[in-house]
């Protein structure tokens, strides 16, 4: 007689259906799942509406970006800035003013010289420089006749951390240049041009992108962190022919589906509420959000498999929450961890595609990292879960 031939795929499918049915049955949870994205985006909308930075556009008025005023203390760090000197005027009898400005710039940062703005833009895109300054034609002429002048500062909109540093360096160089030439009565304004960002508000897109990824990842991780430890009937389920790997996979898939819809709603609201025009296709967004949901779900399941009680799971999740927040690379430089941690990869995936316009194939390394992390988390969770007795 044939051996047991029941298909694991069928059992997994049944369990996923059961998980979804449980959510559908829990009306409050269902409302919360879809209310959460709306609330988050609503909050962001309200905050940006209140904030002066909210209306900051890209490549528009010079003199913006006050956020970096106090960042000059970090000048000692190795910031590489490109410089394109387009000034051909020679109206001052002394030294070349644009070259003199460049020297001040070199005191604060490594300066790479470019002949054209296109080359500088390409290097900024590839991350070889953190920003570049364009000294326009007529820089010296304007200064000698005491007319205000400006320098264009191009920064990478996807790199929230270095933005401030670049602005600080330019500010410092401008102040030092200005104070050494007290005969100049007019001012030198650094004009901000933020590159690689979708059309729309600055704060809304950069901070909104962070919110979308952060809440998608951790939202689903939080939900799934309770999925094993809080599921008492699961013990009984384990006395059916269902094995533990099937349980883990089914749980992950169930939460990926929920997380996917949640994060898709989040991203849709984000785009619509702030009228953003992302530089990527909808399909790419779907793939990215699915990946984020997958990693979030596997992170949560791993927490749930490790913990023995709900309290343990809650504490562990909080630890992960703060760890992820601090190490997200959004606020401080986290070095090599930025290339390892799953949420950082998700954040980079979104910025590289939606902001910089890269295709998914071009960022396949990050996609593979997320998939690899998920597989490893599933296997680890199964291994840990299999060590626990079914009936306590």
């Amino acid at each position: 007689m044939a051996e047991v031939l029941t298909k694991p795929s069928r059992r997994i499918r049944n369990m996923v259906a059961k998980e979804l049915r449980l959510i559908v049955k829990d009306k409050v949870a269902l409302i919360l799942i879809f209310l959460l994205p709306a609330a988050l985006i609503g909050m962001l909308w309200w905050v940006t509406d209140m904030s002066e930075q909210g209306s900051l556009g890209f490549g528009s008025s010079p003199g913006g970006g006050g956020a970096g005023d106090n960042e000059t203390v970090s000048m000692g760090s190795s910031i590489t800035i490109g410089l394109v000197d387009l000034d051909t005027t020679r109206t001052y009898s002394g030294e070349d003013l644009s070259e003199n400005f460049t020297k001040y710039l070199e005191q604060s940062a490594d300066v790479v010289f470019y002949n054209s703005t296109d080359d500088a833009f390409r290097d900024l895109y590839e991350g070889l420089i953190e920003g570049y300054v364009v000294i326009p034609d007529g820089f010296e002429a304007n200064l000698t006749i005491n007319e205000p002048t400006y320098v264009e500062v191009h920064i990478d909109g996807t790199d929230f951390l270095t933005e401030a540093s670049v602005q600080g360096v330019i500010q410092a160089a401008t102040i030092m240049f200005r104070s050494s030439k007290m005969w100049i009565r007019s001012e030198v304004f650094p004009g901000m041009v933020i590159e690689f960002a979708p059309e729309g508000g600055y704060l809304e897109s950069v901070f909104g992108g962070f919110i979308v990824i952060f809440s998608s990842y951790l939202g689903i991780a939080m939900t799934s962190a309770q999925s094993i430890v809080g599921d008492a009937p699961l013990r009984r389920m384990l006395l059916t022919p269902t094995n533990r790997l099937e349980v883990i996979v089914a749980k992950v898939l169930g939460y990926v589906i929920i997380g996917f819809f949640q994060s898709l709603l989040l991203i849709t609201l984000w785009v619509l509420a702030f009228d953003l025009n992302l530089n990527t296709s909808f399909l790419s967004l779907v793939v990215i959000m699915s990946l984020i949901s997958l990693t979030g779900s596997t992170t949560g399941i791993l927490i749930s498999a490790i913990s023995s009680t709900r309290l343990q799971a809650n504490q562990m999740f909080l630890f992960i929450l703060f760890g992820t927040l601090i190490l997200s690379g959004f606020f401080i430089d986290v070095g090599v961890l930025d290339e390892i941690l799953p949420m950082n990869q998700g954040l980079k995936l979104l910025t590289n595609t939606a902001f910089k316009g890269l295709s998914l194939i071009q960022v396949i390394d990050r996609v593979l990292k997320l998939v690899g992390f998920s597989v490893a988390a599933i296997l680890a969770a199964t291994f840990i879960f299999s060590k626990k007795p079914t009936l306590g």
């Binding site: 047991v4 069928r10 059992r11 049915r21 049955k25 008492a232 009984r236 006395l239 022919p241």
Partner: protein, 559 residues
């Protein structure tokens, strides 16, 4: 070591397999069929005497009735042969035989005498039988089981040379096609070659009214006369004697401490077992080891399958935990049954059908649309049992099902358990803290801390091991007196006294009348008022349990 007892009377004491029986001559096969139709949801068996139509030889066999058919011309009973009772066996009998009336030539057996028996339990068999002409119906039924591993045995004639042939294999295809009279059904059966000498072959099983001629290789086409289908082929258990068996079952923890040691007992199909004992005596550990949930040494088998084959053995037992939170409280009872039942690869339509019938039996069908959390404790417990029975297990294991229930609900639950046992034929193992509940069961296993299993047997056999074969002098005092027990234990000839309030049971190996007189006299001397004296009071399981746990008697382990 506890002594073992020989139970010669065991066979006589066993419950009868059937509750009613009827006898019909071959000429009255129509009446026999009517008798069966009136009891169509029951597990019906029969004893047939008659002649094989092919050889004319006499045949006697016993079997389970698969199907009865009473048409204008045909009167037929299809029987799955369980026992060949011929004195002189000439050749093997087919596994499925069709029985017709006296003088029938169309069926395998022309019966001279048929004894039909109605077994107590409901017919829960999933196997199906079709005549060759009913293949179209077989195809319809198989469509509902799509995706399952379905085993099939076909008897018929090969299309090429019209010689009888029997094939056994798994169904890989089923279809109907238009035919001149009625649509015809056809099955494709993949047959593994014997001894792995050649590659498996796919046979086409066709209906006999095939007028156009086979569209398939005639050598591989079978014109069916009998088709026997087993839908869940993978769920078949091997032949077994005891539905649940433990031999020298030992469970050790990491430190080397033995939680249970050399536990040996077994129960037959349809029996109920109560496991009683102190907390920490190893009752739950034994059950966990039996279902393969914790590592153990020794033998533990359920339906003949080693419990270490966890994936397979889980199809044969249902587990009902003590904790009622082990089911989805937002789901309705039926949704719970479906959620758990589907993991056994049972189609949803079948789960709904079986689930509804379970809920109806348990008196909670009307609560079918309410979420489980809205039900009372007793009703939730019944839902939990229904979930455990969704996949029609051979054994139902229950961990303290009556704890937390009031006496009324407890009695009601036992009524349902007895009903399950009788109606579904399911063997039941119940862990309980109440020795009185052991009286409801066929067998009792008593566990003691540090000693594992100390007694096993029928409640009657265990009680007979008490002094005077379980009889005692019963004395009811006028008032509760704690000193009475000590005083009576000092009476000459008294082995021990068990006291429950005003009632004292005095156990002795000497004649009870004499002991009664001595006891009454002693009580009077001590100014203790006596209300009633009974010289022959029967001991119950509570008395037995107290006596064995206090070391007053030695347990027996029935083999």
């Amino acid at each position: 070591m506890a002594p073992s007892i020989d139970h010669e009377k065991r066979l006589d004491e066993e419950k009868p397999l059937f509750v009613e029986e009827a006898y019909f001559s071959g000429a009255r096969i129509g009446d026999a069929i009517d008798w069966c139709i009136n009891r169509q949801d029951r597990d019906l068996h029969c004893l047939v005497e008659g002649n094989l139509t092919s050889t004319g030889k006499e045949v006697v066999f016993r079997g389970r009735i698969l199907k009865v058919k009473k048409g204008v011309l045909t009167r037929r009973i299809a029987v799955l042969v369980e026992e060949d009772l011929r004195r002189r066996r000439v050749g093997e009998l087919d596994k499925v035989l069709t029985v017709g009336g006296d003088g029938s030539t169309q069926d395998d057996v022309a019966a001279t005498q048929i004894t039909v028996q109605n077994y107590l339990k409901r017919n829960l068999s999933d196997d199906l039988y079709y005549d060759g002409r009913e293949l179209q119906q077989a195809v319809k039924d198989l469509e509902r089981m799509k995706g399952q591993e379905v085993a099939c045995t076909v008897w018929g004639k090969r299309a090429s040379d019209k010689l009888p042939i029997m094939i056994r294999g798994s169904i890989v295809g089923a279809s109907t096609s238009p035919a001149p009279i009625l649509p015809e059904g056809a099955l494709e059966v993949r047959v593994e070659s014997e001894g792995d000498t050649s590659a498996p072959k796919i046979y086409l099983v066709a209906q006999p009214q095939l007028l156009i001629g086979p569209r398939y290789n005639p050598n591989l086409t079978v014109i069916a006369s009998k088709v026997y289908i087993v839908p869940y082929a993978w769920k078949q258990a091997p032949e077994y004697r005891d539905v649940l068996a433990a031999r020298n079952l030992t469970v050790k923890v990491k430190g080397g401490k033995k939680l249970i040691e050399n536990v040996s007992f077994s129960i037959r199909e349809g029996e109920m077992l109560a496991i009683i004992g102190e907390s920490g005596a190893g009752k739950s550990t034994t059950v966990k080891a039996l279902i393969g949930d914790i590592p153990s040494t020794g033998v533990s088998r359920i339906a003949g399958i080693d419990s270490r084959q966890t994936q397979k053995v889980r199809h044969f037992f249902g587990y009902c935990p003590q904790d009622l939170s082990y089911m989805y409280e937002t789901f309705t009872p039926l949704e719970n049954i479906i959620a758990f039942g589907k993991q056994y690869d049972i189609p949803e339509w079948q789960l709904i059908q079986h689930g509804k019938s379970l809920l109806r039996d348990f008196g909670i069908l009307e609560k079918g649309n309410a979420s489980t959390s809205e039900l009372s404790g007793g009703q939730q417990r019944r839902v939990s049992i229904a979930i455990a029975l969704a996949h029609k297990p051979k054994v139902l294991l229950m961990d303290e099902p009556t704890s937390g229930l009031d006496p009324d609900n407890r009695n009601e639950l036992w009524r349902y358990l007895t009903y399950i046992n009788q109606e579904y034929g399911t063997s039941i193992v119940v862990i309980t803290h109440y020795p009185a509940e052991a009286e409801f069961c066929d067998k009792v296993a008593v566990f003691m801390r540090g000693k594992s299993l100390v007694a096993f047997g029928t409640p009657e056999a265990l009680k007979e091991e008490m002094p005077s074969r379980g009889f005692a002098v019963g004395i009811v005092l006028e008032d509760v007196n704690p000193k009475a027990r000590e005083i009576l234990e000092g009476v000459e000839g008294v082995r021990f006294v068990l006291q429950r309030g005003e009632l004292l049971k005095v156990f002795s190996d000497e004649p009870l009348e004499i002991i009664a007189e001595r006891c009454v006299k002693t009580l009077k001397e001590n100014d203790i008022g006596v209300k009633i004296v009974k010289t022959r009071t029967v001991a119950d399981m509570v008395d037995y349990y107290i006596a064995i746990t206090r070391g007053l008697i030695q347990g027996i382990i029935e083999k």
